[in-house]
Amino acid sequence: MQLYLKYLSILFRSQMQYRTSFWLLTFGQFFIPFSVFAGLYFMFSRFGELQGWSFFETALCFGVIHMAFSLSECFVRGFDVFSSLVVSGEFDRLLVRPRSTIVQVLGSKFEFTRFGRLVQSAVVLGWALWNLPIAWTPLKVLTLMMMVAGGILIFAGIFILNATLCFWTVQGLEVGNLLTDGGREMAQYPLNIYHKRVTLFFTFIIPFGCVSYLPLLFLLDRTQGHGLLYALLPLAAILFLLPCLAVWQFGVRHYRSTGS
């Protein structure tokens, strides 16, 4: 962990060498989800509500997922662009250093410009929370934080799975983006508006539902009993991440026996 922070520091200093591009990209990142959010806003101003969900309830969901996405894109970027490490042979360099490959790949790249996106989603989240009549308890505050944290872990897991595929294909695949971008677009709305199968997939296979829709029910006191269960569901993200890490280790072993 300490080493991770050291990597963070050196890459931050590197990024600061290119200040203009940093500010421009950050600015751009602020506006990308902004347009998506504007779409959400205008849809609600036209139709009023979405299957029983109000604008601010949906905005809360949107804020949580986009915050998790921007944080994971910033801090787990090393896995997102992992194919470039394999193609350039830089991964060999990581293997001759006496640290775990996971820390080193995480530390190989950060995308600080995602800060713009983070600010934008934080604003949306704050606005939603301000306007929702939530009766706050310490557990609800914890749940909200766990929703974001769990979201980061799920996105991280998908990035890692996608990176692992590079050991076989060398070049990056867009399959992962299907799940990250697709998952993000799906999970920014309450999941029960979709077809049942979609909901099941994003609850039990890739548990975005466990960090957005289901704990959202708890925050809004819409659960029928089992409140605590809903509150703690974001922990399911850990259950998703663990097998992803195991698959990664398997991939590293494969790489070292093929040298591809």
Binding site: L3, R13, Q17, R93, L95, V96, P98, R99, G259
Partner: protein, 329 residues
Amino acid sequence: MGNPIISLEGIGKTFKVAKRAAGVRQAAKALFYRKHTFVEALKDISFTIREGEIAGYIGPNGAGKSTTIKVMCGILVPDEGDCKVMGYTPWKSRTAYVGNIGVVFGQRSQLWWDVPVIDSFELLRDIYKVPDTRYRKNLSMLTETLALADLIHVPVRQLSLGQRMRCEIAASLLHDPRILFLDEPTIGLDAASKIAVRQFIKTIHKEKGITVILTTHDMNDIEALAERILMIGKGSLLYDGSLDELRRRFGSSRTLTVDYRDCLRPVDIPGAVRHSWSPQQAVYTFDSAQISLTGVISQLSEQAEILDVAVDSKSVDELILQLYKEHQI
């Protein structure tokens, strides 16, 4: 010379390579169906390197040099055979093992591009968990021997290739490795930088007694540094011995250029081959193991008034080329 530090026993490695034919159509076909061929990158490679040796590992491109280095560094797992480095099997206990080795890939940087060199050094200190006192001692030693004082506060991207290579080598020695792997450390360097790098490798070897494995295509590196040559071709180890031994084997041939006062007839000398002749100069080659230099000159001086002679022995490049030829690689 110390105890064996690296030993390879019958290492073999086969790669599965997809066959590709030219043309868009073939490429499209390859999306669905691919033929594979198996390439034997290493065949039954065995050798031992003793602690404190400098071994030059040579061979033409694609001969298996890098593959062997990768096996010894723990990056690659061989299909068969056994490799022990300092008691470790490199690919089995990777993290415990690699803290004891330093690796320089001449073509790839291990420094962080946009920050001053010293920042990279500090991060490497943390990666290798080098204690602070040892780090400072090593840093000052390396700064002095490599003349880095002016470089370490400059961002890496502003360094010349030669300056960068000096920093690369320093970076790989911060954690006191016992073995240093240098993969083409002089590639692309100008003459002065090459000599500086060689000089430094020599110094560090002498002072620290570090074992050095060096791959290169520049035979001057080998001549300046390596006491021992390992040559690999088509995946097999073809030669393992000293440079002097190689010289004895192939290097007994000499070229003699003689200038003399006008001599109207070409002079033949038994045992030597005449390559060119003019009334002022002639070039002969002969095998110094068969006929002595004084013998050739004395026979010549009987026929002509010699003004000047120049004797050349084969360069290391030519020796290696002859070795390649002998093995048809």
